[in-house]
């Protein structure tokens, strides 16, 4: 508290123009909301959320594919986050199938070993933080009745696409601390914008903001590291190597975005037997979004949830229309919970 008070004073004295910072990590959003950080920032400093919640950016077609697997009597193992995300026709939770929440991919493999008469499919979502855990597990030779539906995403291609749009008025980026823990931040040096790597304690975030605002004021575009206890420039090389042993990049659609080249991960041919899409002949279909939902623009940082005509009316946390209203870290849900009453 004394430290954060000092940081806040510093931040106050640094911000003397309207600044807008984008973070691209759902866990950053959750930490900001939980600590009430927006309530103590200088008035002219805004933080917005980019495409950083893996639930938000998972297209409807991938949920539909998971439900197709339910209908093929597979046991579905997945993170709790995914349970309530609406596909075209209900969610995994409402599918009536044998859907098990697991802590991680290794627990899904344990299920497959314990219940050899069943087909167990792990719905494998997540960024570079998560993909190496799946890779390491695939390399431990899981049983034949285990497979994954790979829905992974990589951050830098999305950021590249975002910057190439040039739509949003963003003064700087707060990079996802745990993605960088694994990947380091050298990949982001290609982007000519002010960036900072930040951790997830309230003080980490405040410190990141101070460093970023200072950089902006200096007129520089480099990457500062406000999370050195976990992140170094090169990241965890062992994890990276395992990830690229098992996966290779592919072109893939993001919810709200078009197909972004090289932004997904698919199993390499030698691990094809673990690919649920091939094993069960499942197709991931493109599904058009609800016409009025502006999740895509919210995720690109060019609109706020409250700009959406459906927000708080047709679309509420109970009756989510878009994915941003589903995920705990979805911008619309958080906005609804913490912001709507304040305005």
């Amino acid at each position: 508290m004394p430290v954060s008070k000092d940081i806040l004073d510093t931040l106050d004295s640094l911000v003397d123009s309207d600044l807008c910072i984008m973070h691209i990590c759902g866990t950053h959003e959750a930490a900001i909301a939980r600590a009430g950080i927006r309530s103590i920032l200088p008035e002219r400093l805004k933080i917005v959320m980019g495409p950083g919640c893996p639930v938000c950016i998972t297209p409807q077609g991938e949920i539909d594919a998971a439900i197709d697997l339910v209908e093929k009597d597979c046991v579905i193992a997945t993170y709790g986050d995914l349970l309530r995300v609406p596909g075209s026709n209900g969610s995994l939770e409402s599918s009536g199938g044998d859907v098990r929440v697991v802590q991680g991919v290794h627990k899904a493999v344990e299920i497959a070993r314990r219940e050899p008469e069943k087909e167990v499919v792990f719905i494998s979502v997540g960024f570079e933080t998560t993909a190496p855990t799946v890779a390491a597990t695939i390399l431990t030779n899981p049983p034949e009745n285990f497979s994954i539906l790979s829905c992974h995403r990589l951050v830098p291609p999305a950021m590249e696409w975002l910057l190439s749009q040039g739509e949003a008025k963003l003064h700087g980026f707060m990079l996802p601390g745990h993605v960088c823990t694994v990947m380091g931040y050298h990949e982001y040096e290609q982007f000519p914008v002010p960036q900072v790597v930040a951790g997830f304690e309230p003080e980490d975030i405040l410190l990141g903001l101070v460093m970023l605002v200072k950089q902006i004021r200096e007129g520089k575009a480099r990457i500062d590291n406000a999370y050195p206890r976990a992140v170094c420039r090169e990241g965890n090389r062992k994890a990276q190597a395992l990830m690229y042993d098992v996966f290779e990049p592919c072109d893939v659609e993001w919810r709200g975005f078009p197909v972004i080249p090289g932004s997904g991960l698919r199993l390499k041919p030698e691990f094809e037997q673990y690919d649920a899409q091939k094993k069960f002949d499942i197709e991931i279909r493109h599904v058009d979004k609800h016409s009025a939902c502006i999740c895509d623009r919210v995720l690109r940082g060019i609109a706020q949830p409250s700009d959406c005509k459906l927000f708080g009316k047709a679309c509420t946390p109970r009756t989510p229309v878009g994915p941003c209203m589903v995920s705990h870290e979805g911008a619309c849900k958080i906005w609804h919970l913490y912001e709507s009453r304040r305005v």
Partner: protein, 331 residues
């Protein structure tokens, strides 16, 4: 329209279902009735106030670190009586058992109920048992109802401006224990449910000072209960994050599970709104009870209509009643 799981998870959605279910003309026997949606009802019978309450209990797993469904079924009803200020006298028990249930497990459950009853001097005096086909029901359900006596009932809507908010101990223990166990986190006995009968704790708190409102933060946790108390009283509440008692292990587990320990059930805690002058005395009384050692003053009743948390870092946020049961998550 159909009932969905959200309708059972407390909060606003549940409120809609309750409006349907409580739409009765014959809803009050002369005291506090169904319309008040308090922890229990009060019925004046020949100058004597009878408190009356019920709960149905479904828990998965039925045996968990710190307790089992039998202990919860007894404590849940004892505590709802206590929340009205009522001394528990007698309980009923409706058991609904799926075909194939182990009789040995039933014995354990009954023994556990007996022990909890013994702790607070109440008796289980009447019951009913139904056995359902395996295809119709896959888990045991234990309903209890209870009656008690009270001189001056305590409501959940009586908060007054300036009242101090006391919680009788660490929050989230039960919900986190259950969820971790259910989701296979294998913490063993490191996190235990707090399930306990609170009558004697409440009795000594009432003797120590003037209590304006009480509620047990069960389904929906502290977040739900404090919001309900504020809403029903027509006031706001400010909570100090740093004063909230949280067990370190529960904080760690909640972090791993990606859930807020304020949004999960407690089964042995009470939230009290206490006249400010009496707050320290009541706190003292609670702390001297074995189930109240970690009690703390956590907030204050203010003008307004929101429950706001002052965060450790000096920020503010709303504490909202949760929508739906929390699900463990990794992002």
């Amino acid at each position: 329209m159909k009932v969905n799981l959200m309708h059972g998870a407390g909060g606003e959605v549940m409120g809609e279902l309750l409006r349907t279910i409580t739409n009765l003309k014959n809803n009050n026997a002369g005291g506090i009735g169904l319309e008040s949606l308090d922890d229990g009802a009060v019925i004046p019978i020949n100058g004597q106030n009878i408190v009356f309450t019920t709960d149905s209990h479904v828990v998965s797993p039925i045996f968990f670190p710190g307790g089992d469904i039998g202990r919860i079924a007894v404590c849940g009803t004892i505590n709802d009586l206590a929340m009205m200020g009522g001394r528990p006298i007698a309980l009923s028990c409706g058991m609904i058992i799926p075909e194939g249930f182990e009789i040995a497990d039933l014995e354990r459950i009954v023994a556990s109920m007996d022990a909890a009853l013994g702790e607070c001097g109440a008796s289980l005096v009447t019951g009913d048992t139904k056995v359902l086909e395996r295809s119709a029901l896959d888990t045991i359900i234990v309903n209890t109802a209870g009656i008690g006596i009270v001189e001056r009932p305590v409501r959940d809507n009586g908060l007054a401006i300036g009242d101090r908010i006391i919680v009788s101990g660490t929050l989230g223990d039960h919900g986190v224990a259950i969820m971790a166990h259910r989701e296979g986190f294998e913490f063993g006995d490191q996190i235990r449910s707090d399930v306990s009968p609170l009558w004697s704790l409440v009795e000594s708190a009432m003797a120590a000072g003037e209590i304006h409102a009480m509620k047990d933060p069960t389904r929906g946790g502290f977040a739900n209960a404090i919001n309900e108390m504020a809403r029903k009283s027509g006031h706001g509440v400010v909570i100090e994050e740093e004063s909230l008692p949280l067990r370190k292990s529960v904080r760690s587990a909640a972090g791993m599970l990606g859930i807020d320990p304020l949004e999960v059930a407690n089964e042995g805690k009470v939230i009290l709104g206490v006249k400010p002058e009496d707050a320290e005395a009541v706190l003292e009384a609670i702390r001297s009870h074995p189930y109240g050692r970690d009690a703390a003053i956590v907030g204050t009743v203010v003008e307004g209509s929101n429950v706001v948390m002052k965060t450790a870092i000096g920020g503010e946020r709303f504490i909202e009643p949760p929508i739906g049961d929390p699900v463990p998550r990794v992002c």
